[in-house]
C-alpha cells in the first residue's frame, strides 16, 4: 500500500467519476467543470508515470486555455441543455451503460490477455534488419549503430542539461515538418474562427 498506489487509485477514481459526470450532468457549466476535473486527474496520472512535461502541457493548454474558451462561449451565449422532451428515448441510461460495458469489455479483454512486458522497439527492428542486410558484418567504414541518426549536436552546451532538451531536440529536428504544419493549422483556425463568427452587415 505505497503512496504511489494510493495516489494512483485517487486519480483513477477522480478521472472515471468526473468523466461519467460530464455526460450525465444536466447543466452545461457543470459538464465543463467536470471536464476540467477529468483533465486535471489525467495530468496527475501523467505525473505518476514520470511524464512531467505532458502533465504540465495538459494543465496549461488543455485545462487552462481550451476549457476556459469553452466556458467563455457557454457563458457568452448562455447555452443550456435543452429540456427533455416526452419523445426522448426511454432506455437511454440502460443503453448507455450497456454500450460502455461492451466497449470496455471488448478492448479491455484484449488489453488484459496481452503480454506487455516484452516488446520490439523500432530501434531494435532497425538494427535487426541492418544486420540481415549486411550479413552480420559492418562492411562500411564508419557505419555506427547509432539509433538517432537525425539528432544533431547543439551549438552550445548550455541547454543540454535541461529536462526539455531531448523533447525539444526531437520536436525541432525530427518532427520539424509537422511542427511547421501545426503553426499553419493554428493560423488557419484563427482566421477561420474570426471569419465564421463575423456578424454580416446588411447591404445598403
Amino acid at each position: 500500500m505505497t503512496l504511489h498506489l494510493v495516489l494512483y487509485c485517487l486519480f483513477f477514481a477522480m478521472a472515471a467519476v468526473s468523466a461519467v459526470c460530464v455526460v450525465t450532468s444536466k447543466n452545461t457549466v457543470h459538464s465543463a467543470l467536470f471536464l476540467v476535473v477529468t483533465m486535471v486527474a489525467l495530468a496527475g496520472n501523467f505525473l505518476l508515470m514520470h511524464q512531467e512535461l505532458m502533465a504540465v502541457i495538459q494543465v496549461f493548454v488543455y485545462a487552462g486555455a481550451i476549457m476556459v474558451l469553452f466556458l467563455f462561449v457557454i457563458m457568452l451565449l448562455n447555452l443550456r441543455e435543452p429540456d427533455s422532451l416526452p419523445s426522448d428515448f426511454k432506455g437511454r441510461t440502460f443503453l448507455g451503460v450497456a454500450l460502455t460495458v461492451v466497449f470496455v469489455g471488448l478492448i479491455g479483454f484484449g488489453v488484459l490477455i496481452s503480454r506487455w512486458d516484452v516488446g520490439v522497439s523500432v530501434n531494435d527492428a532497425k538494427a535487426v534488419s541492418m544486420e540481415q542486410q549486411t550479413g552480420g558484418q559492418n562492411l562500411e567504414a564508419g557505419m555506427t549503430e547509432d539509433a538517432d541518426e537525425g539528432a544533431k549536436e547543439p551549438a552550445s552546451d548550455a541547454g543540454t542539461r535541461s529536462v526539455f532538451y531531448p523533447f525539444a531536440n526531437r520536436l525541432l529536428v525530427d518532427y520539424l515538418l509537422p511542427f511547421e504544419l501545426m503553426s499553419i493549422l493554428l493560423l488557419v483556425a484563427m482566421v477561420g474562427a474570426v471569419v465564421v463568427s463575423r456578424r454580416m452587415l446588411p447591404k445598403g
Partner: protein, 112 residues
Amino acid sequence: MPIEPFYLQANLLLAVFIFAVGIVGFLFKRSAISLFMCIELMLNAANLAFVTFASHQAFWLHNPEAALDGGIFVLFIITIAAAEAGVGLAIFISLFRRQQNINVDEMVSLQG
C-alpha cells in the same frame, strides 16, 4: 517507480473507459456544446493511452527515444484539439445567431 504492466493495463482500461463514456455521451446528448465536450473526452482518453505507452517504453522497455515520440504526438493532438475548439465554437456562435439555441435535433435544414 517505473510503470509496470499492472499500471499500464490499469491506465489502458481507464483510457478505454473514458473513451466509451465519451462515445455514449456523444450519441445521447442534444446540446452541440455537450457533443463537443464529449469529443474532448475522447481526445483525452487517446492522450492517456499515448502517454502510458511512452512511459512504458521509457521505463520498462528502456527505449527513451520512443518515449519522446509518444510525447510529441500528444503535443500534436493537443494542438489540433485547440484549433478544432476555436473553429467549432465560432461555428456554434454563428449557429446560435440563426436559431436561439444549440439543439442539434433542430438543425435539419440540410436534410433532404
